[in-house]
Subunit: 413 residues, 4 copies
């Protein structure tokens, strides 16, 4: 933190003054619940209708960081659904999640953003090769950037969770992969990977908020690496998994040994329906449990996700933690979590957009490990403890801001 203090004195300028120009946020899954809530929130915060409660970057520890203003973001995206953001927002209001009057207040901005939504890539029933699809998606992003006079576009994947991947030889060989991509008869990559590829082709920083495959194809990641953009992921750590990453390290700090950590999730909404598919849910379960496995060093950790449509947008999660303490004694902790899931994710979308703008400006490339704070399955980091991640993120923001201000960032090149 002394970094920050020094800079101010040296430069005689408040870091917040950095001029990023206008920045684009490109949402893959732009008409989904998380995306729509983020757009409502962005508009409401930019118009000062609400305070940015739930935004990490508003905390004191980020006061010295150079972050773009909410009002300087422009939103667009891809989706494969024809239900507009406005319709979706109305549904969310009916479900009691978003206040109806707020939707009314930002209806214009929702309409505007929805007008910038292009057709996503849907592997089902398309004739185009994946190479063509990626280049089409990429052009959409570039066009968005140019039309709106944006200095950069942050691409964020908030589309439906996909099933996990079977292994193919193409995933480990760039040349094999490339030719498979050219073949219109094949759908070698899942949609999330095509979309991620399109982002890097467009030179855009890319963030994966879902547990889908995305860049987790070695050959694709190699390919993407050549474009030298910053990337971050994976799978937003918003609820139960977050709570676990808070509690598990604290138990460990006291020398208490977790024997088992059993959990259940109940959720409805779009995400609930998607996860009712046993293949999609398995991707999510793996992603949710990875951190806990690390943090507890191999406790028994059964976990379930149930689609309970009547819960609507609410997610309820129960955890039962069985711990060994002094002289073989046992301790149990139970937690029940109940929240509108998208309300936890949406402010993180805004935080990630702001921080990724800084990362890009400050010249980061590849996985930004410090963004592990936001993810169940952090790319570029082995750290799962939330307290440590909190520390790391704030430190990164100040160091990156320092680098930006001292002219070593990409911005000034």
């Amino acid at each position: 933190m002394s970094v920050k203090a020094d800079e101010e004195s040296v430069l005689g300028t408040a870091p917040e003054d950095w001029d990023y120009g206008r920045t684009g946020i490109w949402l893959i899954g732009a008409r989904g619940s998380v995306a729509t809530t983020a757009v409502i929130g962005l508009a409401a915060i930019a118009s000062r209708l609400v305070k940015p409660v739930g935004c990490v970057t508003e905390q004191d520890t980020f006061h010295g960081a150079c972050l773009p203003d909410y009002a300087d973001f422009v939103v667009g995206g891809h989706d494969i659904s024809g239900v507009s953001m406005v319709k979706r927002a109305e549904k969310l209001a009916d479900a009691g999640m978003v206040p109806g009057h707020l939707v009314e207040s930002v209806r214009a901005q929702l309409l505007e953003a929805d007008g910038r939504v292009c057709s996503g890539y849907d592997p089902a029933g398309t004739a185009e090769s994946q190479a063509d699809a990626a280049s089409r998606l990429s052009s959409d992003i570039v066009a968005f950037k140019e039309t709106n006079g944006l200095r950069r576009v942050i691409v964020l994947d908030v589309a439906s969770t996909e099933a996990p991947l079977d292994q193919l030889a193409e995933y480990h060989d760039i040349d094999l992969l490339k030719s498979a991509l050219e073949d219109p008869a094949r759908s070698v990559l899942p949609a999330s990977s095509v979309a991620a590829y399109a982002a890097v082709l467009a030179g855009s920083p890319y963030i994966c908020f879902t547990p889908s495959t995305a860049l987790n194809v070695p050959a694709l990641y190699e390919l993407a690496g050549a474009f030298r953009v910053p990337t971050a992921g994976q799978d937003g750590k918003t609820g139960q998994t977050w709570l676990r990453s808070v509690l598990a390290p604290a138990l460990a700090a006291r020398g208490l040994e977790v024997l088992s950590w059993a959990g259940t999730n109940l959720l409805g909404g779009g995400d609930g329906a998607t996860l009712a598919d046993s293949r999609a849910v398995s991707a999510k379960l793996l992603s949710k449990n990875r951190g806990l496995h690390e943090l507890t060093g191999g406790a028994v950790i059964p976990l379930h996700i149930d689609n309970v449509p009547d819960l609507g947008e609410t997610k309820v999660a129960w955890d039962h933690i069985h711990v060994e303490g002094f002289l073989g004694s046992r301790l149990t902790i139970q937690t029940t979590w109940s929240a509108y899931d998208s309300m936890l994710a949406a402010p993180m979308i805004l935080d990630l957009a702001r921080l990724m703008t800084l990362a890009d400006a400050a010249g980061e490339t590849g996985h930004v490990g410090a963004f592990g704070f936001f993810f169940k399955d952090p790319w570029g980091s082995e750290e799962h403890s939330f307290a440590q991640q909190t520390h790391n993120l704030a430190e990164w923001a100040l160091v990156a801001s320092g680098r930006l201000l001292s002219d070593t960032g990409r911005e000034q090149l």
Copy 2:
């Protein structure tokens, strides 16, 4: 942590090798549940019957610290109860808290420790002046030290919780206090303060694990200060309050605002019976809520403690946390905690004894703020976040060990 690395290379000696000689642990309330459990555990760990699960000082982050061996501790203490440690241990075994075979295995050590328990100070029905009482208690400690060839004696208050104090002029004026102490007709100080005073008179480091008044009398603290011993407190942070100090900062780190945090505690055992007294419980409630008040910045925090004798040694605590998130949305977290209370406290007693031995050897005097890790109401520190306290404690241990090894400690004088 580089501190530690440097030292090793410079000194060419493993810090763990530091020779503390034999150290005394003097327990005020030596025949209580926490004390007895700590003595059982100390004996069992020293005899390698059990692993030191639940001991903070066994964690990796303390590997470089100079801490005394469990086997080098000798236990004595004060109590006003005639029920021996062995009897108490048997009761704890019957209640299912301590395994019966463990009590059998350490029966000899319990008998030995109990043989060193002297009559505590009981304000009810005594003719001695408090000055005389303090000097008697102090002599007990000094005799314990000499008889057993101890290099130092750590005094730990684990006696029953007292009612909070009404204010008196004597508490703010050393001379007034001194003459009140001489007056056999008066009981100006509560028992915990007399005991604390006796500890410092004996030149012993003093730790207050209870919410009782102890050194919280300004004039007494001033008096105690002259004896230049390290002190730490107050009120062990073992269960619900600990969990709160883990969760509250994590919520804050995400920009989520706690609106209310309501809690209930159910407990039986000796502590339950004591807290059934509405005056004693008010001391505990104040102490329990202070940290949460700081951490949440003024949320509504109703809290109850109920004496539920059928729960025996088990403590059950329920918390309901109501949080405001993005766009005015609400999040609720409930936690239920169930544990044998003394099983959480006892390993901390061992940790504190070890760390206070280091503190004393390394020349600390006055409140050791870094020990706030262990306390609901930390002396010498405003920090309540458990993650931050974890960091501070480990760092303190390494720095103090470094100081000790580089001959600046009191030990070598």
Copy 3:
């Protein structure tokens, strides 16, 4: 149930056809949360906008009972607040409790009902004697009946909970009480008792949904008895207490012995604010625990109610039940209840109005014990088991309907 079958065959007429004419519902506390919700619901059900979910009298077991139609009720009442039902309804909608569009749909009916609300009796700052007050209130009820062409008026107390009463000689001596009532300088009775007295003076069946004193003044009850109206109470059993009256008898049926049953309630809203007063809360606590005391035969039953304003209209209740089973083993059950409190009370108001109409028509006078189903502290019954109460209520309804149809009811006299 054979009663019913017989009747139908004998009388050749569906009991549901009984013509009650128009019935009045007079709500004491008409602008409160429970009252307003009941009025919204009555209007919405009568207009077939919603189904009568939550109404007991809609269950199969009541199919043979003679009950008035929702559309035949007319609402009026007393209150001391100037905030209209419409305003209150809008607040409830803002709090997310009632759907906003529903309030819009029944706005006309709310306005109409609110137009029939008269000034209640407020002991604070009034010059009228309580005898005068009772007669004024009584006239309001009679005027309501005549103006609206009602055959009978059911009076329901849903006003704020009062503090419990200190004992006075007047409470046990009709003559003393009468003269105290005449004295304008005295407020011998609490407001709820004045209101209850007014109801019986008006010849109205009276129901006490609150834990306030009401008819629990022996001399007043004697006085009231002379008017030979049916009465029922007391304190709606809607949430935690209801759950207890379901679980406790079931545990007993299995020979399991409750050792302790500890509970906590968190609530905001008007009722929360009222109960923040330590005197009002003590009435409620007594009332809540009476049944459990009976059902468990003397277990330890600590109970708390906290005012947590941020919870708004939501009530959250936690119970921890500690049970002894086979061979001294222990079982614990925890329950957490979360609901909009008034949403549970309001349908009971409609049920009670319907059933009391039947009771009155069928010639019941004095406490109708079978209505204990609805109450924490049943008048005229010692039964607290919900299963038994369910059976009793349905049976009563059929028997009373049979009586009504066989011309023995008051109606035909």
Copy 4:
């Protein structure tokens, strides 16, 4: 209940005086946790070491029923495990479930009972035809009866849960089934069915406490019917399912509509290990959910059972109940259940043995529907409401006792 009163006056004899002689309890799975706990309890109650807490037949409502004394039971059984009851009892004591001193006190009785345990039927690796196996098992029961001078033997299945069955033609055709049973090369029936068949062959009343197939093979049930013994089942309703059968009817009685009822079970022990097998667990899940399905009329009811070995003999169950109330409002109830599972089952084993003795003596044959009180999946009854079952069971006991006393029972023939 008048039945009972009448009888007493008519017969001039206390019903409790009925002389059943000595009765056998034959446990299939005699060395399991439930069986061993039941035997410990039977011995301890008969020797008046403990009170029969948890025994339904000790409740007031059974005071007029004719039931055998605990001291008149003799225990034997089948098992395929070589670990003796005494060893099992010691393990249960080590696990903290049974008090160690109790095991010591009844060691002689455990040894005696274990001495009467014969080899059960294990389909894996046996050369005998199932007809031979059934006749061998049957002879064991008959020999037990004769050797011990028993008037009747109640057979109770408390063996490990089996996987559910695939359908075969043999299950619907007695002749096909018979010839398959003769064929040593085939294992057409699961072990539970062979054991049940052996019981009826021996003329013994048979009770199925497990969710295994047992008599649920139409052709077998037909075959068994010829032997005219009373039968009861299936799958002991001890914990979560019991709680559901208490709560669901109570919600229905208030007109509240269950939208979803999601549950999770965590358990260790022998039963936990068995249910870790995904085929065995599916039998249990079906059986557990059947009643709830009936009671809620088709709510969403996801349910999980996890094997969590560190929980030992403890079962923890969490339920989340989402309910629709008045005007579309929502109510949630959560329950957490924690208990030693076998401690809930064992007293039911004793109750069932006593009640089945009465049933047999009173001439019942086929499924005794009134015993549905004890079962998740009641045979011979569609009733799942626990309150109704409680009523039915007590009534049955009195009526059957009346029949017995008026000489219409089988006993006197």
